[in-house]
Symmetry: C2
């Protein structure tokens, strides 16, 4: 249970993990997140839809200003996630078209990727959380266990519990079970968009089901954590006509 | 790992647990602690050395105002802990004369007491933590695992990680290993004071070692989580003269 005192494996892992705050509202929370990152040994912070960091942010980031200073700011979420290979998004609510893992399951899954995998951890706005549109840029959603439905965890608290669980669950040995590293999100999303485009052209996606089915497609193909081989297969499958794919079955 | 969704055992346990904030400075932190308590299913909050709760406190206690409204305010720590049977105190620093457990060990120990045991969880001032004088009112000290020495966890974060760990470590079955409930802290401390008094009268405690040995006595006899039987034995042991106790050995 002393995972955080073994710098060897955990440092490597954490250096590939990025905390991404999407449209955070309160500067104090950004500072508290930086402090919680420092406490648990995480380094990389990305901010989406935030103007310059103000004084209040630095006030709550006690002994953690370095994390704020090196934080990267993006105007659009998909730019912030483009180079990640796997993206986990925190959600406090059930989602109609997106499956949601428990925190423990998400952390277990996270440790199955090769060490060098760039992993993003997304946290949404304090009031709204992540929108369905924003969830499309994630491979997996996870929920923190809590006692009551209301209130949800405060933003900095949600980040802290996630990072703390990642830290104490760090495997002692690092036996990788998934040898293939997933593609960068940008490539994964390009593939998903091609599939959607094809489905629309074929009339499978139409006006009444489009938004609903689109989210489910993002969910299913996101959870694949698509590798280059998966991508080639999927593109082959979906670029064929229905009749041709039936031929394959024979 | 779904401990927080099993209301049966965990609720009972949590209803016997009290969060005690000692001289908290920032009203926002008190409100955040209330919210973190709500999230993890804890109810009882005691505050020491705090004047009335102000507006800022209620602002951060989103959906958790009930916890603040029923919070009990004390001017002295020993009044706040008098009716607890076991007291755990959070510390971020090593202590010269007090032993310190890991968070995991403290939580394991906490679940060994009978369900109905009143347990106090002490957290000190944001800047100073708990003083040695304040630690005397605890049975056990514990430290949260963290990545670096500086900064320590923010007050609300320290409370959150403690309550969260208590929640996810809740035993499925509740097999009690220590059948005897410890005495209320007030009685434990009366007994420790009688021992100290005797040691001083005997010249064992003197000017140069007094403060140092006193803390170690509090540590050792605190960790006993003294029962009525322990108390009787200790009083018998220490009220006897040295010669008499040697007689006993024969």
């Amino acid at each position: 249970m002393d995972a955080m005192r073994r710098p060897g494996t955990t440092f490597d892992v954490k250096s590939g993990m990025f905390v991404v705050l999407v449209r955070p509202e309160h500067p104090e929370n950004i500072g508290l997140v930086a402090r919680n990152m420092k406490n648990t040994g995480f380094i990389h912070l990305r901010l989406v839809g935030v103007n310059d960091l103000d004084q209040k942010t630095f006030q709550t980031a006690i002994h953690s200003q370095d994390i704020l200073k090196s934080a990267q700011i993006y105007s659009r979420l998909e730019e912030a996630t483009a180079d990640f290979c796997v993206v986990f998004a925190a959600t406090a609510k059930r989602r109609k078209n997106f499956t949601v893992l428990s925190l423990e399951d998400a952390v277990e899954r996270l440790y199955q990727y090769p060490k060098s995998t760039k992993i993003g951890l997304l946290f949404g706005n304090e009031r709204t959380g992540l929108t369905s549109e924003e969830l499309k840029h994630s491979n997996f959603r996870f929920v923190l266990p809590q006692s009551t439905e209301q209130p949800s965890y405060n933003l900095a608290s949600a980040v802290l519990l996630t990072l703390y669980t990642i830290s104490i669950r760090a495997p002692r040995t690092f036996l990788t079970t998934w040898q293939e590293k997933p593609l960068p999100r940008k490539k994964q999303e390009e593939c998903i968009k091609m599939i959607l485009h094809k489905l629309e052209k074929d009339g499978f996606l139409h006006k009444t089901n489009k938004s609903h089915v689109t989210e489910m497609i993002y969910d299913v193909f996101g959870r694949l954590s698509m590798t280059e081989r998966d991508r080639r297969l999927l593109l082959a499958l979906f670029s064929r006509g229905m009749s041709e794919s039936k031929e394959l079955e024979r």
